[in-house]
């Protein structure tokens, strides 16, 4: 490495002062050029020779990469409520309550049978660390990360996202159906038991 040579002569100082002014002047002159919002794969993404580097954010934004890890989204129709995502989450920000269905609800888009309702499927985005583990374990790929990163809220309660498609009444109804079915099953079982005793 070359040793930095300090020069203190009058003309050296003047020269360095002038070169300083030239530097700022060059930036001032190039201020007519602007950075353009380019995608990360664009050749010019890291190549910004001169001009203003900031964007007027809400109006312009650099597109986020496809594999970026931003806000979660759950396609509840495809969710089989297996609870894997809640278990793997390192910060426990997914809350799932499940209710067994009395009959088969349907199939997800990849053909898996759905047997559980999810009266509660909440993800607390304020706690989430966007590690993406939940999306990798999800067997039906219904939990995904979207390119949305600007979702600040005034009230922190709004950071809890509710993904369930059941209203509380429907959830209640499903619970009752299940309870009734279980009662019926218990009754049938008891009846069968009683019948066996009789023999």
């Amino acid at each position: 490495m070359n040793e930095v040579k300090h020069t203190y002569g009058f003309w050296d100082v003047v020269k360095s002062l002038v070169s300083g002014l030239r530097l700022t002047w060059r930036h001032f002159k190039n201020a007519k050029n602007r950075r353009t919002p380019e995608y990360v794969t664009d050749e010019n993404y890291f190549n910004q020779p001169d001009g203003l580097v900031t964007l007027t954010y809400p109006y312009e934004a650099i597109p986020v990469p496809d594999n970026g890890r931003y806000r979660l989204h759950n396609e509840i129709d495809d969710c089989i409520v297996c609870d894997l995502c809640a278990k793997v989450c390192p910060v426990n920000c997914i809350t799932i309550e499940s209710v067994k269905a009395t009959e088969e609800i349907g199939v997800t888009s990849d053909g898996t049978k759905k047997r559980l309702y999810a009266p509660v499927f909440d993800i607390d985005m304020a706690k989430c660390c966007y590690c993406g583990l939940c999306t990798t374990v999800c067997p039906t790929d219904c939990l995904t990360m979207t390119p949305v990163y600007d979702f600040a809220e005034v009230d922190i309660k709004n950071m809890i996202y509710h993904f369930t498609d059941l209203t509380p009444e429907q959830a209640e109804e499903k619970k009752q159906l299940l309870a009734k079915q279980q009662e019926e099953m218990a009754a049938a079982k008891a009846a069968a038991l009683a019948a066996r005793k009789l023999i």
Binding site: L17, G20, L21, L23, T24, W25, H27, F28, A31, G51, L52, V53, T54, T56
Partner: protein, 367 residues
């Protein structure tokens, strides 16, 4: 009274433009966009800033020395604003055309220091006090090289009247009462035998009439940066160490006044530099043979044309200097206190003393 109102309005306009320019220039030099939201390209930003400041609560700290605290902004602004009274804006428009304008200006500007000290002391805040002490030390010191640089102009021009100094630097010289038989020579040296009285333009500016004044101009410019507390001499404010210096406790209207005074000071020192060194309201274009550029861009005295041309040249030259001040602010790092005093007392003051001597000798060559 009319002059007062006109000057105040003009000053407010310039300051608002300057505050906007400061932000935009800073942004552009740092590869940012600067204000973009308020008005086209954010041009209403500084107007809105002023409106915001006016709405704010006027807080007087409980432990402050109330009377000093309240009086200081008014005194500071009054001192700076009073300086504008003697500035000739056009060939026949001076708010107060007194014969000892230069002397008056130097004297009245010094009052500023008292106001700063009052603000710093009255705030009863250590940062404000430190800022005020630094500010006063700096302004008092730098008044000496600045004063000496101005003195050399006064020696060359043999006048303390800003308007007379202005007339001397252009084609209109012989119109001024008392200067009828004066003549300008190239570089002020009659022996060269090139008369520039009717050539005018840049050749009759003070930095050309007596090239030694070019050095004086540089000294004055550096000292004026220090006097208006601009970077690289902004240790009185030094955002990063003293929060905001002497005006840290001020808010609302009083802060707006301090802010206004600071920018007015920038404008004032630039105006004085233009008037004393850069040909005042005179055009930079010389008459070359049949191309009477100087006459065309000067207008006729007493008519609107001379007012418009005069104002135009004066303001455009001032804005060039103001731009330079802004650029310097965003280019150079802040000086340390000892470096600041070293520069003032050991570099600028001796050179300025030498310039005064040389200016006197130059004056002898001019007659």
């Amino acid at each position: 009274m009319l002059a007062f109102v006109l000057t105040l309005v003009l000053l407010l306009l310039i300051v608002i433009v300057l505050a906007y320019a400061e932000r935009k220039v800073a942004a552009f030099m740092q590869d940012r966009l600067g204000p973009t939201e308020a008005g086209p390209y954010g041009s209403l930003q500084s107007v809105l800033d002023v409106l915001k400041l006016l709405q704010k609560e006027d807080i007087v700290p409980a432990a402050a020395d109330k009377s000093l605290f309240k009086l200081a902004p008014i005194l500071i602004f009054a001192a700076v604003f009073a300086g504008f009274a003697v500035i000739p804006f056009t060939p026949d428009l001076v708010p107060a055309g007194i014969g000892i304008g230069v002397f008056y200006l130097l004297a009245i500007i010094s009052l500023d220091v008292v106001g700063l000290l009052m603000a710093g002391w009255g705030s009863n805040n250590k940062y404000a006090m430190l800022g005020a002490m630094r500010s006063v030390a700096q302004i008092v010191s730098y008044e000496i090289p600045a004063g000496l640089a101005i003195l050399s102009v006064v020696m060359v021009c043999q006048s303390l009247d800003f308007q007379e100094i202005s007339y001397q630097q252009g084609v209109l010289m012989q119109i001024f009462p008392g200067l009828e038989y004066e003549a300008n020579w190239l570089f002020g040296i009659e022996a060269l035998g090139l008369e520039t009285t009717n050539i005018g333009g840049i050749t009759t500016w003070n930095i050309f009439r007596a090239p030694i004044l070019l050095v004086a101009f540089v000294i004055y410019f550096i000292a004026s940066l220090a006097e208006s507390n601009r970077a690289p001499f902004d240790i009185p404010e030094a955002e990063s160490e003293l929060v905001a210096g002497f005006h840290v406790e001020y808010s609302g209207f009083r802060f707006a006044i301090l802010f206004l005074a600071e920018y007015s000071m920038m404008v004032l020192v630039s105006l004085v530099a233009v008037i004393l060194f850069l040909g005042s309201w005179n055009t930079p274009l010389p008459n070359i043979g049949p191309l009477q550029l100087a006459n065309w861009t000067t207008g006729t005295i007493g008519e609107l044309s001379s007012i418009l041309w005069g104002g135009f040249w004066l303001l455009s030259k001032t804005f060039v200097l103001l731009f330079l001040q802004l650029q310097i602010r965003w280019t150079y790092p802040r000086l340390r206190v000892d470096q600041l005093m070293h520069l003032c007392w050991k570099v600028l003051t001796p050179i300025a003393l030498g310039i005064v001597l040389l200016a006197g000798i130059w004056r002898l060559l001019m007659i």
